[in-house]
């Protein structure tokens, strides 16, 4: 085994299979055969929408539902390293993300956001993948801190995954080492915008620019 130069050549991330939000949306819009009630409900809403002036009711209802969806994001608590301290500070009373409707929840099966806060090691990556797979669709992921974004100061180590986006799809990258709670709050607000964008357009927005 030859000794190589100290700066490793990191290959591009390899994407593996994951369920996209658009697949989920298509699944949600497809109705089972013989579902009379939802068809009747759809006919009713279509009738209201086509009625003169009725579009005000339906669009306002859509806006209300979009607001409700983006204001009730429950993050699964997934603290990995020192970023988790900042994440806990964000969840605590001083910064108080509960006013955004976020409840840190200790079960992936009830959550729709994963905040990956800290260094992901090669030993931890399969567990992270499994917890992400246990979350119900639609789900989002926030990569918090340099380590989760790109490996950070441990990028040249032998045991670190060079960016959590090699394991799961990421929607918002929060830079910093560690990011202060204000930074994470900004990331969560960006995520709310992305959720609203997805609900409006049915397309997952591109993640924000990754700064290590």
């Amino acid at each position: 085994m030859a000794i190589k130069s100290p700066v490793p050549e990191v290959p591009a991330p390899v994407w593996r299979s994951f369920k996209d939000l658009q697949e989920f949306e298509a699944l949600r819009q497809r109705r089972p055969e013989g579902d009379k009630h939802s068809a009747a409900f759809e006919a009713l809403t279509e009738g209201i929408h086509q009625f003169p002036g009725g579009f005000v009711v339906t669009t306002l209802a859509d806006t209300f539902f979009n607001w409700a969806r983006k204001s009730s994001v429950w993050p699964v608590t997934f603290g990995l390293a020192c970023c988790a301290i900042e994440m806990m500070a964000t969840f605590a009373s001083r910064f108080d993300v509960e006013r955004l409707g976020m409840v840190p929840w200790a079960s992936p099966r009830h959550s729709d956001l994963m905040i990956v806060s800290g260094t992901v090691t090669i030993k931890m990556a399969p567990m992270l993948e499994r917890i992400y797979a246990q979350m119900p669709d639609p789900k989002w992921a926030v990569s918090m801190g340099s380590c989760a974004n790109s490996g950070g100061p441990f990028r040249h180590g032998y045991h670190v995954v060079k960016g959590v986006d090699r394991v799961i799809p990421v929607d918002v990258y929060v830079p910093g080492c560690p990011p202060p709670p204000e930074s994470l709050l900004n990331g969560l607000l960006l995520l709310q915008e992305q959720i609203a964008h997805f609900r409006r357009t049915g397309q997952r927005a591109a993640p924000n620019e990754k700064l290590d």
């Binding site: 085994m1 030859a2 000794i3 995954v161 090699r166 394991v167």
Partner: protein, 150 residues
Amino acid sequence: MTHEQAASSIAERFSSASIETGTPLTVSVPPDQWRSFAQFAKESLGCRFFNFLSAVDWKEAGLEVVAVVDNLDDNLSLRMKTRLGSGEARCPSLVPVFRGANWMERECYDMFGVVFDDHPDLRRILLGDDWQGHPLLKSYAVDTPHPPYR
């Protein structure tokens, strides 16, 4: 027991050991005397506290196993070393003498690939069971592929 007394008693008992005085007292012994020296340090010098065990990779000159044992009553610290030789990775285990050496030797095996003879449970401790290679060796490249994550 002072450093001087310890150094003279080591020189008397182990003639092939090379002793560097100082703090801590540093003693190099050949690998075949490794366990008997540890026994001597524990029973005659009173170094009953096993501090740590690790290894150093000197590239072509081979691996060197380092352990520090302390006599907390007399404030005596003893650093014991053994050179395994080029291309050699077998070393006697210290577990029969110090039970605290168990996990240290497992970690040393994990990181440097030193195989400790007579170790009761020699397997990886920090890295995953499917890991290939020993990452703290100088010959281990940091960008060694580890599918599917790197």
